[in-house]
């Protein structure tokens, strides 16, 4: 396998980073990088880390000398430690508080509550911002742990960007991928069709039902996450198999059950990603109140219901 760390790879311009990835021969990995400066989204860091974890013989991971001035970043987020190879350079370690969550592996469900509890103070964000961030993290990581059968669980990374006042998150696995999990219950001709289904509310690989799901899954998790990005006018990317769906920034806050009705781009002939990689930006400047977002989501579920009054209401005391 080969991966190149470019000068810049964020969700808006991630396509070229992914196109340059060579998935062939999982027994070895070559990592090259821009010699001047490397600045990449946490989703990209998770992708590189995942590839390193995939190679069993660590002597077969070759990193071309990282000479970019920003190389310390990869040491501080724990890339070399994660994949078990020396960095070849030293940096002065700083307290990570207020800046990022290093590359972290979540292997089991019972590790998740502690991770989420520790994650929010690390990012030093106000409680009103913390709510959607921990929501997104919980749902994405639980998706991996429950459905992906990933050999190392979920690999997670996040960073706060002061200039844009944005939190960027990545959650990546090397599991079954969306097509294999969704087609257990719903037909999908290719990876992009499977991603479309996975983002549609009410569709889950665990049942053929269109609404209501099973006792543990409703097929709503990814739709909620896409909705959080949509109403806040943020990027959201999901890459699985040969396909990538990217939610683009849109001035219209209307939520659509069909992700293809949102302003988006999609590519269906990318290098094959075994598993699923998700990235999301969460602008704290454009942040919409989480409660207001929930009203919009509820409206989507009500869209086709002519008489909402027929619904029985829960009793709040």
């Amino acid at each position: 396998m080969k991966v190149h760390l470019p000068n810049s790879a964020f969700l808006g311009n991630i396509d070229s980073f992914i196109r340059a990835f060579d998935p062939n021969d999982e027994t070895q990995l070559d990592i090259t990088s821009n010699p001047n400066w490397v600045s990449i989204h946490p989703m990209c860091s998770c992708i590189v880390g995942s590839l390193g974890l995939t190679v069993e013989d660590k002597s077969r991971i070759r990193v071309a000398p990282l000479i970019a001035k920003s190389r310390h970043y990869f040491k501080r987020i724990g890339l070399f430690k994660l994949i078990g190879i020396p960095s070849g350079f030293t940096v002065t370690e700083h307290d990570a508080s207020g800046r990022f969550i290093p590359l972290s592996l979540i292997k089991k469900s019972d590790e998740l509550p502690e991770f989420i509890t520790e994650m929010v103070p690390l990012l030093h964000i106000e409680p009103e911002y913390a709510e959607p961030i921990r929501y997104v993290m919980s749902e994405l990581i639980r998706n991996v742990l429950e459905h992906a059968n990933s050999p190392f669980g979920a690999l997670v990374c996040a960073q706060y960007y002061k200039d844009s006042h944005t939190i960027r998150l990545g959650v990546v696995d090397r599991g079954l991928g969306i097509k294999r999990t969704i087609t257990v219950s719903h037909p999908a001709s290719d990876d992009i069709a499977a991603i479309r289904l996975a983002l549609t509310p009410g569709i889950t690989g665990t049942t053929t039902r269109k609404m209501g799901g099973t006792e543990l899954n409703a097929g709503a998790g990814l739709f909620f996450i896409k909705s959080i990005a949509k109403v806040n006018k943020d990027f959201f990317v999901i890459y699985s198999g040969n396909a990538m769906y990217k939610l683009l920034r849109d001035e219209k806050a209307k939520l659509n059950p069909d992700p293809f009705d949102d302003k988006h781009s999609k590519i269906a002939n990318l290098p094959y990603w075994q598993g699923t990689a998700v990235g999301i930006d969460m602008s704290l400047k454009r942040h919409k109140k989480f409660e207001d977002l929930l009203d919009l989501i509820r409206d989507v579920y009500h869209k086709d219901v002519k008489d909402k009054r027929r619904f029985k209401k829960p009793k709040f005391i």
């Binding site: 509890t117 921990r134 209501g212 989501i297 209401k313 709040f316």
Partner: protein, 95 residues
């Protein structure tokens, strides 16, 4: 009347679906089966996920019917939690 304190079991962010399932199977359903009403007390719970609420109550609604909501009361819910409960109970009736 059985009152279940969720904060003691799930903390301030109620997201653990495994715990939700255990509460449903070990506490909510047995009490409903005995004819008792159940109060789910969310005091000190700051937020939750749709997945948690789904794992907590959806299968009860599916198996016992939507009128089971007359037997379950949601106590001390903030607006976020109320809205997520409403979403789950709505889509469970939209079959």
């Amino acid at each position: 009347m059985k009152e279940i304190n969720l904060f003691e079991k799930v903390g301030a962010f109620a997201e653990n679906k495994d715990t939700a399932r255990d509460i449903r199977l070990q506490e909510i359903i047995p009490n409903l089966d005995k004819g008792e009403d159940v109060i789910l007390d969310f005091e000190k719970v700051e937020s939750t996920t749709q997945s948690f609420i789904h794992a907590l109550i959806s299968d009860i609604i599916r198996k016992k019917g939507i009128d089971v909501l007359d037997k379950i009361k949601f106590k001390n819910c903030n607006d976020t939690i109320k809205k997520i409960i409403n979403i789950v109970t709505d889509y469970m009736q939209d079959n």
